[in-house]
Structures are given as structure tokens and as C-alpha cells.
Symmetry: C2
Subunit: 138 residues, 2 copies
DNA sequence: GCCAGTCTTAGAACTAGTCTAAGTATTGAG
DNA sequence: CTCAATACTTAGACTAGTTCTAAGACTGGC
């Protein structure tokens, strides 16, 4: 994750305590936190961090392509630091857990039929179903 | 669309002017309106209809499986009456236009690799790219 | 036509996110 | 190391989208 801070500095970022903390909170591969969750966790490390700064920093990370924005339900957006490996999402319809699942040529193929003249640049797939835990409880 | 009203009555729905109007506004196959757009159009036909009623009716239609909820951006949910034909969505990254694109066995296949034990019941695909109009303007 | 109970209403409340203006702190120059 | 320029952060007001509430209105079965 220090690589990330390096990359950001190279892009002209000032390295502030707040940005460090947001980057640290987002560390991990199957992390899909909402902005409020990021704010809450960042607040444990740096109590005076403001919500606006968390939103600003997340927005900047997304703009730089370091973090992905995921909106699998119509609620709060989630922030996914796993931007280096193309992947899709498994979402549990019961407990809303999210897991990354690798993308491949098959999943990323454009639709077989008519694309109505669209020039497709990205394919985003959400697989919905029951996670193992929720299957066990059912 | 009168079929829809029939089906709803069969399920014990009271047929009120408001519900008729919401159903009528949603008529069509490539319609992806926000709740506010539905409210605005419904208001032209029945000026005193309230926003709460529009939300209630849309929610009920979704619960009954007659209408799909689509959240392709992190903004307002859109309501898609094309629930009878499995399909995915093409979204223009520039003008945000949405088009339906038919689903088939290929698009609806579960991920080829490990599903982490999930029992997948639905696949939802968003293809992002430039629509013909926006390509022409670019 | 009457009544029970469902549906609708206006507006308040809530959640997620953005904006603003003033203050603070990082960094590069000297 | 110090300083100034200016990028960054802050609290809190504001907006959009949606849900809730309590009171009144209307539908459909009798």
C-alpha cells in the first residue's frame, strides 16, 4: 500500500495524514466499504478527520483509477481497492456480502447480438445469490 | 398494459386512478424512468398524485416482479417495465442513455472459476460505452 | 348505498453526498 | 531552516433521493 502513496506523490499529491489514513483503511483485497465506513475506520486512527475529506480523497482515488466505485444496490456506493485485477462481484441477496470474482475473456465479451451501435468499453457483472453462510442458515 | 392491471387485480390489488396512471406511464419496452420522472409524467395525467404514492406503487410493482429496479449509476434508481424478457443494459458513459440488450445462455453463465460457494440465482450485466449519437459528436 | 379496511396525501424525517468559505499545513525556494 | 504560496481540510449548510407518519379518502364486497 506504500506503493500507492508513492504513486500518488509521483502524481503531485501532497501526502497528508488524512490521505495516508484513508489509503490505509482501504488496504486489502476483498474490501468493499461505504464512504461512511471508511470515515468511521479512519476516525479511529485520526479522530478529527472530516467526512468531506474522506469523500474528496475517495473521489480522487477513483479519478486516478486506484480505487473502483461499486454500486451493487441502490444504496451507498462502495469503494473497492482491487483495481489492479479485473474482476466482477458476487453479492449475497440475503446478507449483502460482496466477493470479488476474477474476470476473463468469456465474462468480458460484448453481447453476442445487436449492440445498437454502442462502442463498448467496459463490462460490469453482478452475480446475485446466496453465500455459503446464508445457505447453511436457510 | 391492461394485462398488467388484470394481473394486479387478480393479486388482490385495488385499482385506483393513481395505480392505473403509474402503470400507464411505465408502458413501453425501452423505458428507464426515475421515480421523479414517473411522478412528473403521472402528474400530467392526474395532477394531484403524490410522490409517496408513486414510490409505493413502484415498490409494489417491483415486489410483484412486474417491474425491475435498475441502478446503473449511483444516483436515482430507474424502473424498467421490461421484466418479461431477460435482458441486460447498455449505458452510455457520456449521455447516460440506457438500452436493453437481450440476455442469452452465454451472458447468463456463472463465472467460469471459483464461486466461493455462492449459489448464483441471477446475473446482471452493465455494458458501458459510447452510444452512436455521442460517438458522432466526439 | 354502507362500511371495513386499503390506499393516498402532505409534509416531516432521513440517508447519502456535495458545496462553501475560512482556517491549516505541506512543500519547494531561498 | 524558514517562509510564502497554495493545496488541503474543516464544520456545517445544503441538495437529491427516498422513506415514514398520521390523518383523511376511496374501493369493492355486501
Amino acid at each position: 500500500m506504500s506503493d500507492l502513496l508513492e504513486r500518488l506523490r509521483d502524481r503531485g499529491w501532497r501526502l497528508t495524514a488524512q490521505r495516508r489514513v484513508v489509503a490505509e483503511v482501504l488496504n486489502g483485497d476483498h474490501v468493499h466499504l461505504t464512504a461512511d465506513e471508511v470515515h468511521e475506520r479512519a476516525g479511529r486512527l485520526l479522530p478529527e478527520i472530516s467526512r468531506a475529506t474522506v469523500y474528496n480523497t475517495l473521489g480522487e482515488l477513483v479519478a486516478l483509477g486506484e480505487v473502483l466505485e461499486v454500486s451493487t444496490d441502490g444504496r451507498a456506493k462502495r469503494y473497492d481497492p482491487n483495481a489492479r485485477h479485473r474482476h466482477h462481484h458476487l453479492v449475497c441477496t440475503n446478507c449483502r456480502t460482496i466477493r470479488d470474482v476474477p474476470a476473463d475473456e468469456t465474462t468480458d465479451a460484448p453481447p453476442s447480438g445487436d449492440c445498437f451501435g454502442f462502442r463498448i468499453s467496459d463490462v460490469e457483472i453482478t452475480y446475485r445469490g446466496l453465500c455459503p453462510d446464508c445457505q447453511a442458515k436457510a
